[in-house]
Amino acid sequence: MTKLLNRPLKAFTIYSLIILIISIPVYVLVVDRIWVEELDENNWLTLEHTKKRLKAKAFTRKDIEKINQIWGELQPGVSIIKSNDKEKFKDSVYEVIRPNSYDLDDGEDRFRGLKSYLNINGEPYEITIETNVEEADQTLIAIALVTLCFFLLLIIGFILLNRKIAINSWKPFYKTLQSLKLFDITKDTSIKLVKTDIQEFQELNYSLEKLVKNNSNAYQQQKLFIENASHELQTPIALLKSKLDLLIQEKEVTPKIAEIINNIEIPLSRLSRINKNLLILAKVENRQYNELESLHVDHFINTSFLLLSDYINSKNITVTQNIKNTIEVQANYFLLETLINNLLSNAIRHTLVDGEIKIKLENNTLFISNSGKTALHKEQLFERFSSLSQEKSSSGLGLAIIKEIVNKYKWSINYHYQNGFHTFYIQF
């Protein structure tokens, strides 16, 4: 993953590198061409000038030989020699690389020459003029070095500019990002994003605020819907229950009918429990149960234990309690009661006959373990209706409620399976 800002930086760097690399041969060609043209022109001018003077002075053959000798000594590569050919040739330009007698460290040098012919006293002469030219490879090195310097300057500039742009222009974006990270639909109803003068970010913020508002509304409505729906269901469930109570009083109730009634009561109880739990869940989510009290966790364990003792005994479960210290928490009475009751009844329900339950309270952690054969899937454990067991009386909401209560008070709940024991532990 790269940061957005580093992506164009990388691209710009690579692009400028390519362009600069391409520019090097181009520069070399251009410079060399200018060089050569300029020298050719210079050679030509010198030649014309020399020709004119040679013609005007009407030198003798001997004079010219002497001139050639002196000239050649003064400026190597320049010569005027008698041509054997009588025909008049065209001027010709040549380039030669040979050692330079003056420049010993440089090894070989490149020379640009111009060869021409002229008649002096009716005799043909060949005249040559040479000038030292900078070699192309040296030009290349020089240009490459300069280009590299500029490239480094460019990169440093890019990085600095990028950083400056990042700090200034992208600041609102990072602020928005931070707000979004902190946003929690279960807690916040709206999101406040910092105003910015950059149009795109302002549009982004506006769209985000709108999106969050719509989603939050939908979420609130859904929560309210669950609460209202379960409220509405209470009455028909209550009616069913009271009708069954009356039905069982009838004199004509045979054992067979009684069994049917009983079989209606069981799913009805389950329906009633699911509904009650949905209501509790909705209410915790809708942030009801807000009164806080100072409560002792061990007290709730004892009460819950007494209430459930019948179920513990009927399954012949061994319970070991290891309460090392008391934990005092600030919580809602009903919610803490629900939390402990759900945990304990959960453990009882999922323990087989003759099983074992261990309750441990140590420091600020409550451990409730029960014997079981296989580990549960951690991921789905606290999801609603993710019933992992075949237990029919389960509402599928017990652990979801536990999780919700734990979240409400920012406690933590975890599960692990070890040595044949399922353990749920809550850190208060």
């Binding site: 409220h231 229950k241 009708k243 109570d245 009356l246 009684a258 069981i266 209430l307 179920y311 009903f334």
Partner: protein
Amino acid sequence: MKILIIEDEIELAKDIMNYLSSEQYLCEWVTNYNNAIEKIFTHEYDCILLDLMLPGGNGISILETLKQQRKQEGVIIISAKNSLEDKIKGLKLGADDYLAKPFHQAELAARIESLIRRKQFDSNNIITQKELSIDIHSKTVTVNNQLVNLTKKEFDLLLFFIGNKNKVLSKSTLAEHLSGDFADMFDNHDFVYAHVKNLKRKLKESNCNDYLKTIYGTGYKWEQ
């Protein structure tokens, strides 16, 4: 004894009246706030069953009215709103008990019985049925003046049966009475058998008549 049922759910109100009618109770029934207020001003009741969500007004304000009028009626709130705030608010305003819907008729009958008894015999709180005598206050049971040693749950069951004389009580009703909200978390209510069996045995050993009948496949019935 006169009972006023303030409940807008007609069927539920009828069921309550049905269940209670065979007892010594005389039930009256209103479905809205205004009629309830009217009844309260013009009549005296032993017990009022009050639903909180009523057409025309909130049940809580009926409680407030009762308090202002310094009425002595016992009030049991029967509400679908099983919220703690309402419960506390109701009890603070002078309601005697709170029963969340859905409830068993037997549970309601037992609560009414217990409420009326508390209101009527403050000092001498003893229920007698021939040789059997139950002291609510000291939680003791005697048969022919001989003390019967009952556990807390057996005592609770006995009172529950007395509060629902001649009614058939199913195992799940008894389980719910004994373990409240927990009962419907479990499929197995067999522990009820054990408690009833022990209660029957203890009463029989004390030479008490066999008032507690087992109705095959259905549940139990206290006969008087």
